[in-house]
Symmetry: C2
Subunit: 210 residues, 2 copies
Amino acid sequence: MNNRQERKLLTRQSLMNAALQWVEEGQHISSLSIREVAKRAGVVPTAFYRHFNDVEDLALNLVDELSKVLRQLMREVRQQRTDPRSLIQDSLSQYCDYVFRHRVFFVFLSQSMTGGTANVRRAIRSELQYFANELALDLRRLNLLGQLSQDMLDNVTLLTINTVASSTMELLDLPSQQGAELLQFQNRLRRQLQLVFLGAAHWAPKPLVS
Amino acid sequence: MNNRQERKLLTRQSLMNAALQWVEEGQHISSLSIREVAKRAGVVPTAFYRHFNDVEDLALNLVDELSKVLRQLMREVRQQRTDPRSLIQDSLSQYCDYVFRHRVFFVFLSQSMTGGTANVRRAIRSELQYFANELALDLRRLNLLGQLSQDMLDNVTLLTINTVASSTMELLDLPSQQGAELLQFQNRLRRQLQLVFLGAAHWAPKPLVS
DNA sequence: GGTTTGCGTGTACAGTTGTACACTATGGTC
DNA sequence: GACCATAGTGTACAACTGTACACGCAAACC
């Protein structure tokens, strides 16, 4: 059989998957009991403590784990350069695809972004901040919005990321993964992001409306 | 003693307040048990069923109740006309004030917006849609963004409301109700909204970046 | 003023919960 | 091969859970 560390990691992943399964069924992670998650992972309740202190600890580790996965995705997406003129459109449809392919990840992150404990919320927010920073780097690299100060560029990207993130639960709630509703959702979100970037393109030190 | 309906309404409110108290302590509503909320309300567990079917039912009624309160607030705020040039600034600081004065309302709504059950999420989203529609009416009344189509105006207001709503949990997480962090938060959110409105002001049928 | 209605009580019970404690079994180390 | 170290097991128990059921009692109604 495998060595010891690998086997431990395996049951650790079983526990995490069991927790995600619970979330996938429409339940909130805070209502998950140690016994329930252990049962689903196929281990005895007390084995849980070999890996996590409590459910919040598990949730925090889940955020870390999913963050790794999402960062990896982002790296891949950023390699395939797209036409800057259709940047929003392309990124958005790629994102929606990815959300559906990893549905439960986003259900968990969405429900915990505002619905988790203080620590979990903080962890997810800091992850969104990371994505916003990466987006800012990309925009600089593509020579977009070059006239903006770094501070203002950060505002633009954080608003962008936050808008996408907080729309994601709505995306997940759509009755089907294709159809009129999805198109409507994508169009709405696309136009909202276009608004933001249009505003950014016209930003000047002293705006008209304050 | 009071008549019967009033007394029933009183324990109903006790139950709702007890649930909010639970949320105020940093707990998630989905981890609230019928026995716990009944104990806090000072009634016997089975009395709960005279008012609600289960905790989700209570949560849905809580959303309705808080919506009434917030709509009332909105009406009051809209009566005191402010200078359109400082519309964002003024509305924002009024909003922050109100959030702190009714902290637990917003903690509950924020945590349930994405963290609640499907029904609760839908209820809150529809409430946000209402606020977005009201904002659109106000903007029309003030002759702002008059060149926009109704459809695009709706996008602007929904983005505005969603941005404020999804920032609210972060506002609630600030360590104090006054200080550098609050100013920083308000400035960031203000600039983000300015971006949106600046984009809206420059919106034309065919935007540069799509 | 007798009857009905229905809100809140009290008891009961089976299922679930967290977690302590003693254990087994097996991989890793010498 | 003898020896730990430790991941997972099994048992145990007190606390908590949802909810069924019968009841009391005061308000509402005729």
